[in-house]
Amino acid sequence: MSTANGKIRSSAAEALAEGRVTLVLGWRKKDFWWQSPVAFVESAAEAEQLTFDPFSVYNPVKYLLEAAGCHEKVGVFVKGCDSRGINRLLQDKRLEREQVLIFGLPCSGMVDPVKIRAAFPAPKICEVARDGEELLVRLSDGQERVQTADFLLEKCLTCRHPNPVVYDRLLWERVPVRSGVDALRFARVSSVAQQQIQERYAYWTRQFSRCIRCFACRNTCPACNCRSCIFDQAEPRWLGKASDMSDTLNYQITRAFHVAGRCFECGECERICPAGIPLQELNRRLIMDIDKYFGPYEAGLAPGDLPPLGTYRGEDPAGFDES
């Protein structure tokens, strides 16, 4: 990965030095082995801290909303899923294409710290680095090699766009799409859908009973980019603040409806949910329905056209009795 970091650091430093951008968003390492927060690099010197490691998963694109306001042009490193977030902001007119200098990073999948902790005694882990198809896990008393494929994040197992879909420069060659992603994509949704109606309700209310309304899923989601969210508004009070099932269902249904046709399955909401709620199973169900009724559509690929729920066709089929 070091050559990768070298490319990242040099391209960032170059862009900053030449003044093409005044800010670059990337990732950097921090105290613990699994922490790769987003780095706000504003000078060539700071570019040295930029690192791209198996935990650089957080999507920096949503920071562009604020950054693009006070910077002429901003550089940003994007993996495949991140890049679809840029198309999301372009399609929502929250960003102009020329405000962003995009460095594309073909990504071979990010690692799940939970799986690493399950396989190795946590206090001993010092670093996990990528080495070709394998992972080099350095422990306080030695090191081990394992297959990356066994430790991937859930969202990377179903990733159909590892290569950035929009970029100004691609930093290295493209990577192949993992085989079997299509079969996996809606597997969990189908397994929930097959249950009886009362079982489904029990399943979902059990998941949502843990929702503490921390809004992490909304605040990290590039599709939730409104200036003032209805959930924060008092009059009319769309969402009550009580954390009972009625308002939690209200919140989850309304948010899923708002991102319907705009969510590009980056899976971040599910990954960072502290309550472990399988949110992708909800968003992907809507994607399945949109494909089924209004024709296959993948969000975050073509910012020019209208999202499925922003337009219509006279001959659309209906999910209800139209007699």
């Binding site: 306001g69 929502d92 929250r94 980019n225 409104c226 209805i230 508004q233 708002h258 922003g310 337009t311």
Partner: protein
């Protein structure tokens, strides 16, 4: 909360019969914000309205809720009442406790519960009503009339007479419509052409009216006072400026096809005018049949044309124009008789429809006005007229009565006897209907003076029997079976809506009933208006009717148009969308769903801390917005709201209705 007054109407007994008014008034008094509640036998009457005005003054009411009939009936009436007492008209809310409560629920207790719930909902909404003000809109002082039959002609003439410019669009190469095909008109038997042609000429000569013949409406946008209509003038292949209407081309053209005007009884040429008195009297080339266009050879008409007016290269012409009002007068089609095999129509030449018989009667018709049997060209002796073919038929036809057949059949009987001395008409009827001035007397002459035999017994089957036609029926009155050998059978087929009426309705965004006749705003009180402001109806496109009624409707529509165009400005609909720029993200998802293009981007300058920040927000053009509200749902943060139906109001209604 707002000081609210609730007025519950008895509507005579219509509401009071199944809603306990006293209970409702008592319940209303306890609703949040209600400081006054009362009842009245007829709230829409002068006394009722005075009671409201009085209550507003004495109790300093800020909101008024009237629980009575549907808002679609008297919302405007009560808005004027409330305005007269100094309140903004939009501080009024109506609870529909008649059409949607007392009339449809028989049990008094549950009907009262529901009425109270509907009142509570109206009170909750009224509490959140904001003052709304209609703004002034300019009016395009030009009218469009669609359809050049007698309805369209009369409307155009009357509008022009009121001093307004009119564009008259007609699908056929000439105006005249259905009436031009008629010979005589009942009950006066005056010749149809004699009373129609002068009006057609008057239209042609009026400098205020422009005729667009061989043309159809392509697209309609905009709203009352500001319609934008695109009309497609189909390529005529004849230069109207040069052509003198001499008709040489029509003689020499080698192609002979069925004449639609004469219902296929005789042929016409590929270059044709529908009938001799056509206005404009300039032919058009039927490109589907013209040899030049189908096989690429001939061009005879070009050679013989003295004025060099033939122009094969002509293209369809699309013209877009602004109009203040539109009159729809597109007429009707006679019902096709495909599923009426029992009358042997199409199997025996002497079985005709009434319009075909009318063409035989017509001097410029296929037989020059002589009644001759198509089979052998000799005048018929016995003629059977069968009524209600496809009308008053729930099973396989139109369930409604086509209104004009009884009268024109009496006319046919009379004219038959005049034209063919000794001819004997037999009219098989269910009921003879003569609902007009001098109609009954006209019908009496048919059987008294001219010896028509009226048999109450619908014919079950017509048996072609060599040259003759055997008609079998029963005389329901005497009970005698009837078996007649006749020389000709005339079927009085029903009146269908014009083919293509549905598509035109969608273009104009007006609605049609189950049989594709256009829906009038109110059958009794607003017969020539539609629910879409600025669009009016005249003639059979709105339902079967005879010429006197059609002309009356045409003049009525013309007055409505003149009243509208006569205003110096129009009050716009104030319940339009409104953007809260603080919440607006600028993602323009509202713009994408607006059917009227009423939303546009605006650059907003805003101070944030020390520097000014520029960001895009949505902006609504109050004139174009029609208040559909599709944008309010597309806007995720709810930044765009619909005045009169705001998110706050509807949420309050939902919460009140569920209590």
């Amino acid at each position: 909360m707002r000081r609210t007054g609730v007025f519950i109407c008895w509507c005579g007994s219509n509401i009071a019969a199944t809603v306990d008014i006293d209970l409702a008034v008592a319940a209303a008094k306890k609703m949040p914000g209600v400081v006054f509640a009362d009842q009245n036998k007829y709230t829409c009457s002068e006394i009722g309205q005075e009671m409201i005005r009085e209550a507003i003054r004495t109790h300093r009411l800020e909101r008024v809720v009237v629980a009575a009939c549907s808002p679609r009936m008297h919302e405007n009436t009560f808005r004027k009442t409330v305005a007269a007492a100094g309140l903004n008209p939009y501080f009024l809310e109506i609870a529909n406790i008649r059409e949607q409560c007392s009339w449809v629920h028989k049990d008094k207790e549950t009907a009262t519960d529901k009425a109270i719930a509907l009142i509570r909902t109206a009170v909750a909404k009224a509490a959140r009503n904001e003052a709304l003000f209609a703004s002034e809109l300019p009016i395009e002082r030009r009218a469009l009339v669609i359809g050049g039959g007698i309805a369209g002609i009369q409307a155009a003439l009357d509008i022009a007479e009121n001093g307004f410019v009119v564009d008259l669009v007609e699908k056929e190469p000439s105006i005249g419509g259905r009436m031009a095909q008629l010979d005589k008109t009942f009950p006066t038997l005056d010749c149809s052409a004699c009373i129609l042609t002068p009006k057609m000429v008057e239209v042609a000569q009026s400098e205020k009216i422009t005729i667009f013949s061989y043309a159809e409406v392509e697209k309609v946008e905009g709203y009352v006072g500001n319609f934008t209509v695109t009309v497609r003038s189909r390529a005529r292949s004849v230069d109207m400026g040069k052509c003198t209407g001499c008709g040489d081309c029509m003689l020499k053209c080698p192609v002979k096809v069925d004449s639609e005007f004469d219902l296929g009884l005789i042929k016409r040429r590929a270059i044709y005018t529908p009938f001799p008195q056509a206005v404009p009297n300039k032919p058009a080339i039927d490109r589907e049949n013209c040899r030049w266009f189908t096989a690429g050879k001939c061009r005879v008409c070009e050679k013989v044309c003295p004025a060099g007016a033939i122009d094969y290269s002509q293209e369809d012409e699309l013209r877009t124009e602004k109009y203040g009002a539109i009159v729809v007068a597109t007429g009707f089609d006679p019902k096709k008789l495909d599923n009426y095999g029992e009358y042997a129509y199409g199997k025996h030449p002497d079985v005709l429809t009434s319009l075909e018989f009318e063409r035989l009667l017509n001097a410029s018709g296929p037989t020059g006005g002589k009644i001759l049997r198509p089979s052998n060209g000799r005048p018929p002796k016995n003629v059977a007229f069968i009524q209600c073919v496809g009308s008053r038929d729930k099973a396989k036809g139109n369930p409604y009565c086509a209104k004009v057949c009884c009268m024109y059949t009496a006319k046919h009987a009379i004219l038959l006897c005049e034209k063919v001395p000794g001819a004997r008409p037999f009219v098989f009827y269910i009921d003879v209907r003569t609902p007009g001035k001098d109609y009954e007397e006209f019908y009496n002459r048919a059987y008294e003076e001219f010896g028509a035999t009226y048999i109450k017994g619908n014919v079950s089957k017509v048996f072609p029997d060599g040259e003759k036609l055997l008609v079998r029926s029963v005389d329901a009155l005497s009970g005698a079976l009837v078996e007649l050998e006749v020389d000709m059978v005339v079927l009085a087929n029903s009146v269908d809506a014009r083919a293509g009426a549905k598509e035109l309705a969608q273009k104009l965004s007006i609605t049609t009933n189950a049989y594709n006749f256009f829906n009038e705003a109110h059958p009794k009180l607003r017969p020539v208006e539609t629910h879409t402001a600025g669009i009016f109806l005249a003639g059979t496109c709105q339902g079967p009717k005879d010429i006197p009624e059609t002309v009356a409707q045409a003049s009525a529509a013309a007055v409505k148009v003149a009243a509208l165009l006569g205003k110096d400005s129009l009050l716009s609909n104030p319940t339009v969308a409104e953007v809260n720029e603080k919440l607006c993200t600028g993602d323009m998802s509202c713009l994408a769903v607006c059917p009227y293009g009423a939303i546009s981007e605006k650059m907003l300058e805003e101070r944030r801390g020390r520097e000014t920040v520029r960001r895009k927000v949505a902006e609504v053009n109050m004139a174009l917005c029609q208040g559909c509200g599709a944008c309010t749902v597309a806007c995720r943060p709810g930044a765009i709201n619909l005045k009169g139906f705001t998110n706050e109001q509807i949420m309050a209604e939902v919460e009140a209705i569920c209590l």
